[in-house]
């Protein structure tokens, strides 16, 4: 962490960058938040640890409009979102300086809660295990048990883009990322409906998923405007959350890098990423494997017409 701070201070000092985008400590040890730093002094609050899951790419949209370059620290998976946003002309690559930071998977306090660890005072990363100080004494668990869902389906240790890389990364994949989607596909439509109704009914429409999603970056969201009466319509159905989330999934289809931020930030613990993954899985099946954000030039199969595109009939099927 100190190395990152020193490097950031140096780049600020020599004028290469005008500001630094990173994470800042908050009053809980497991909740560092994204923050801009504009001076060496401010950087003293900079933190980078196992809780720094937040994907910083999206903040670069705003900073692209500012004077000078912005230094951003990106984990390997964050670079996919960064590339996607560059491809969509939302981030000006020339206004950024990317330092790839090492990552061995990020953890979340929610997972610790689910493991039955309550009253957490502090968490210590001891390599393969976590030592958790709680009101009820010291507990420990394997590091991977506390990892974010997305880290179990890690995109690999390579940074897809970086001006320099500091630190080592690890590929933390230990599951098939489409396992749950396959399970859902095998349900009957009634079972599947019941599953999503149960999950999505928890939604409180806080918009955290929309606000955190790197590709959910429209200047004005269709749900905020009156161009389609979508808001009124969503309110008028008995199941407004379904409409919101399904429309959102379609709007990010072909652009979603599967960064998992939606599920990470959902205060209700809804596995929102499953909607996106179903679309990714179908796209892979229909058009060949495609990873959004792998580079800044490949056109998404959903916005590229080719002579060899699959015929519409192929999309039919599924369980009744």
């Amino acid at each position: 962490m100190q190395e990152l701070i020193e490097r950031a201070k140096a780049l600020l000092a020599d004028g290469t960058v005008s500001r630094v985008l990173g994470w800042r400590a908050t009053d809980t040890p497991f909740g560092p938040e994204p923050a801009f730093f504009e001076s060496g002094e401010e950087l003293n609050e900079f933190v980078y640890n196992c809780f720094c899951g937040a994907n910083l790419s999206k903040y670069l949209i705003e900073s692209s409009a500012l004077e000078g370059k912005t230094l951003a620290f990106l984990k390997p998976c964050d670079t996919y979102s960064f590339n996607q946003l560059c491809k969509e002309h939302r981030i000006d690559r020339g206004k950024t300086y990317i330092i790839g930071v090492g990552c061995k998977g990020k953890i979340t306090v929610e997972r610790l809660h689910e493991l039955g660890i309550k009253g957490i005072l502090d968490v210590e990363d001891a390599g393969d295990t976590l030592t958790v100080k709680t009101l009820y004494g010291e507990k420990s668990c394997p590091y991977s048990d506390a990892m974010l869902e997305r880290c179990h389906a890690c995109k690999g240790k390579e940074h897809r883009v970086a001006d320099e890389v500091i630190g080592e990364s690890a590929d933390t994949t230990d599951t098939d990322r489409f396992a749950k989607v396959t399970e859902l596909e095998q349900m009957t439509s009634k079972e599947r409906y019941a599953f999503f109704q149960a999950e999505l009914s928890k939604c409180i429409r806080c918009n955290a998923c929309r606000n955190v999603c790197p590709v959910c970056n429209c200047r004005k969201c269709v749900f905020d405007g009156n161009a389609f009466d979508s808001v009124q319509k969503a309110n008028a159905t008995e199941f407004e959350e379904k409409m919101f989330h399904i429309i959102r999934a379609f709007h990010v289809a072909g652009r979603c890098t599967d960064c998992g931020e939606c599920s990470r930030v959902c205060p209700q613990g809804i596995p929102l990423h499953l909607l996106n993954r179903k679309l990714i899985k179908d796209m892979d099946a229909f058009y060949g494997e495609y990873q959004a954000g792998e580079d800044t030039s490949t056109v998404s199969p959903l916005t590229a017409y080719t002579e060899h595109d699959i015929e519409p009939e192929a999309g039919k099927g599924g369980n009744e």
Binding site: E88, H89, R90, C218, R219, F228, D229, V299, L302, A304
Partner: protein, 662 residues
């Protein structure tokens, strides 16, 4: 608030027999904004249109809904009618209660309910319609004809005669197409070459016609009146200006083993070749794949013998970019491959041939010099069997479901010619039906049977088996006598189904012209617009649109030329005002719309935008309305809803859906 008039058409009994028209009028009258509703037996008639016009004037209607047939049929009619009455033509909406309702339903109650719902949707839409003004675009007064067979030649000649320049693009080294391969033509039995080659010469000599042979269309951009086409001229390796067509190079060429495509691979040709003696242009090409010079670097004999110094091994492909107002597709056909029809032993015996191969055998310039003989041993056949419908009218999925249309007649022709020239050859034809509905066609067929004694057997052939002595055992059935038939034949001729040339599919996607499941190009209307593609500015000539014989092809070529001339005669075209536009306050500048736009109509610009007092430079999508064809692909791709289509806005479509779901 709009003042809307609703006009419900009976379409005689087409609608009124299934839809209670009066109830539709009653229901429509109750919709908000509707100030006038009435029915009439034929709304498209002069009297019907007069009703609409007077209602517009008398009641000051601001929008009208006509509940009638498909907008493809009469939208233009009613728009013109509204315009004459002083209403903007884009304030007209059609509720299709015929094709979408009365024709496809039987139950009157249900159909009436549906008609009411469709009317309601159109009323909901017209509430949100705004007057639109059409623009104008220029017409490039030049046509492109793709394919240099009889269809393409005739279309080009007719257009050229009307005074407009035409380019023909032909992928082979010579124009002429399939017709050049034929020996005699039905029903008059005149020699194919004798009637085709003068037309080829006429096309080549015509001051308004340019011919690009050995060339292919590479890229098409633009739209009706203003297409830009890249044509790839393959390297001929022979200088067209210098070559005198003496033919010495072909005589001396030591590479002579290449299957001769023109003779359906029944013979061989040299590596430097013209497909046939009357080729136009009479300039050979070097087939680089088989040329010894290109394969090994050694040889160069043709260059040595060419007194004109025309041989140029360094030539490379050339791309010519040209503008056209109209494009004609005349890509023709080929016979299907027979690999799924093992029962006819086509691959097992040289004496099982296709009818097109027989044409070459019968042709004096063909591989046997016009002498009927077995390709296996050169002997004259004594017993010949023709099998009809090989791969045509095929219901098992191995061939084509359609009738290839020309086979009955050319088989009668072949049978007759053989019986005439070689009276001691027995000829048997197996058929499913004999279809001869053309002028003098049935008389022709009857001559084959009655005068020339051709033995027609109604029934299909189950198997052709090569025998040890080289003959062929043909096992079939005679459906009229209800018995099995077995014939030991010397030669079997298969009336092989025809299919569109394989280039048609790629071309159709370049032209965004639709094709059917058999890869035939689709016409804009099967009865009323048979030579136009639904894509404006694209026209269809010859077999690329569907199987047809020479007389029909020539008539269609003329019809197609007339349509092209009609377009080229216009100084300017009215453009469709239903184009896309981008809301700069909503646009993210993400390029998704530009990626999906098939017309290249969307570009981006950096623009200072005042977003409710906040100024900033933004990347904004800009639609070129002259290029936009209003397909709407961008509107559904745009994540923020910044792209919208005039006349078909998201709000209008959602209002329609809401009205339907109400």
């Amino acid at each position: 608030m709009q003042k809307i008039g609703v006009f419900v058409c009976h379409c005689g009994t087409n609608i009124a027999a299934t839809v209670d028209v009066l109830r539709v009028v009653e229901a429509a009258a109750k919709e908000p904004g509707v100030v006038h509703a009435q029915d009439y037996p034929y709304m498209c008639s002069e009297a019907g249109q007069a009703l609409i016009a007077s209602a517009i004037r008398d009641k000051g209607l601001t929008g009208i809904v006509v509940c009638s047939c498909s907008p493809r049929m009469h939208e233009a009619t009613f728009r013109k009618c509204a315009e004459r009455a002083g209403l903007n033509p884009y304030m007209v909406e059609i509720a299709n209660i015929r094709e979408h309702c009365s024709w496809i339903h039987k139950d009157m109650e249900e159909a009436t309910q549906k008609a009411i719902i469709l009317a309601r949707a159109a009323i909901a839409k017209v509430h949100l319609n705004t007057p639109l003004a059409a623009g104008h675009s220029q017409v490039t007064k030049r046509a492109l004809v793709i394919g240099g067979g009889i269809a393409g030649i005739q279309t080009a000649l007719d257009i050229a005669e009307a005074g407009y320049p035409v380019d023909i693009v032909e992928k082979n080294p010579s124009i002429g197409g399939r017709m050049a391969q034929l020996d005699k033509t039905f029903p008059t039995l005149d020699c194919s070459a004798c009637i085709l080659t003068p037309k080829m010469v006429e096309a080549a000599a015509h001051p308004n016609i340019r011919i690009f042979t050995y060339s292919e269309v590479e890229r098409v951009t633009g739209f009706v009146g203003d297409f830009t086409v890249d044509i790839r001229k393959h390297a001929r390796s022979v200088d067209m200006d210098k070559c005198t067509g003496c033919g010495l190079c072909q005589e001396k060429c030591p590479s002579r083993k290449t299957p001769d495509e023109f003779n359906r691979a029944l013979g061989t040709r040299s590596a430097i070749y013209t497909p046939f003696a009357q080729a136009i242009p009479n300039v050979p090409v070097i087939d680089r794949e088989h040329c010894i010079k290109f394969k090994t670097g050694k040889c160069g004999l043709c260059q040595t013998v060419c007194a004109a110094g025309a041989i140029d091994y360094t030539q490379s492909d050339e791309i010519v970019s040209e503008k056209y107002g109209a494009i004609v597709v005349a890509t023709g056909f080929d016979t299907i491959k027979l690999d799924r029809f093992g029962e006819y032993a086509y691959d097992q015996s040289k004496d099982v041939i296709t009818s097109l191969e027989l044409e070459r055998i019968m042709n004096a310039a063909g591989p046997t010099g016009g002498h009927l003989e077995r390709l296996s041993d050169g002997r004259m056949p004594r017993e010949m069997v023709f099998i009809q419908c090989v791969g045509s009218r095929c219901s098992d999925g191995r061939g084509k479901s359609y009738c290839s249309k020309i086979c009955c007649m050319y088989t009668a022709k072949h049978a007759m010619l053989i019986r005439d020239k070689y009276p001691d050859v027995n000829v048997t034809v197996f058929y499913i039906d004999v279809r001869t509905p053309g002028k003098n066609f049935d008389e022709f067929y009857r001559r084959a049977v009655e005068q020339y004694g051709v033995n027609y057997i109604k029934g299909q052939v189950g198997k052709v088996a090569p025998l040890p002595d080289g003959r062929l055992r043909v096992s079939g059935s005679d459906l009229i006598d209800g018995k099995a038939v077995e014939i030991t034949a010397d030669m079997v001729v298969l009336a092989t189904a025809i299919e569109p040339d394989p280039s048609a599919r790629r071309l159709a996607s370049m032209l965004t012209a639709s094709i059917d499941t058999n890869d035939f190009l689709t016409e804009a209307h099967p009865k009323l617009r048979p030579v136009e593609s639904p894509t404006a500015g694209v026209y269809l000539s010859g077999v690329s649109q569907g199987p047809k014989d020479i007389p029909e092809t020539v008539s269609q070529a003329g019809a197609c030329a007339a349509k092209v001339i009609g377009l080229l005669a216009k100084d300017r075209l009215t453009t469709n005002p239903c184009t896309a536009h981008s809301d700069q306050l909503l646009c993210n500048g993400c390029s998704a719309c530009a990626n999906v736009c098939p017309y290249g109509a969307i570009s981006y610009e950096q623009r200072e935008v005042n977003d409710h007092g906040v100024r900033g430079e933004r990347r904004i999508a800009v639609v070129n309305n002259a290029l936009c064809q209003g397909c709407g692909a961008c509107t559904v791709t745009c994540p923020s809803g910044a792209m919208d289509l005039q006349g078909f806005s998201n709000r209008q479509l959602i209002a329609e859906v809401d009205a339907i779901c109400r």
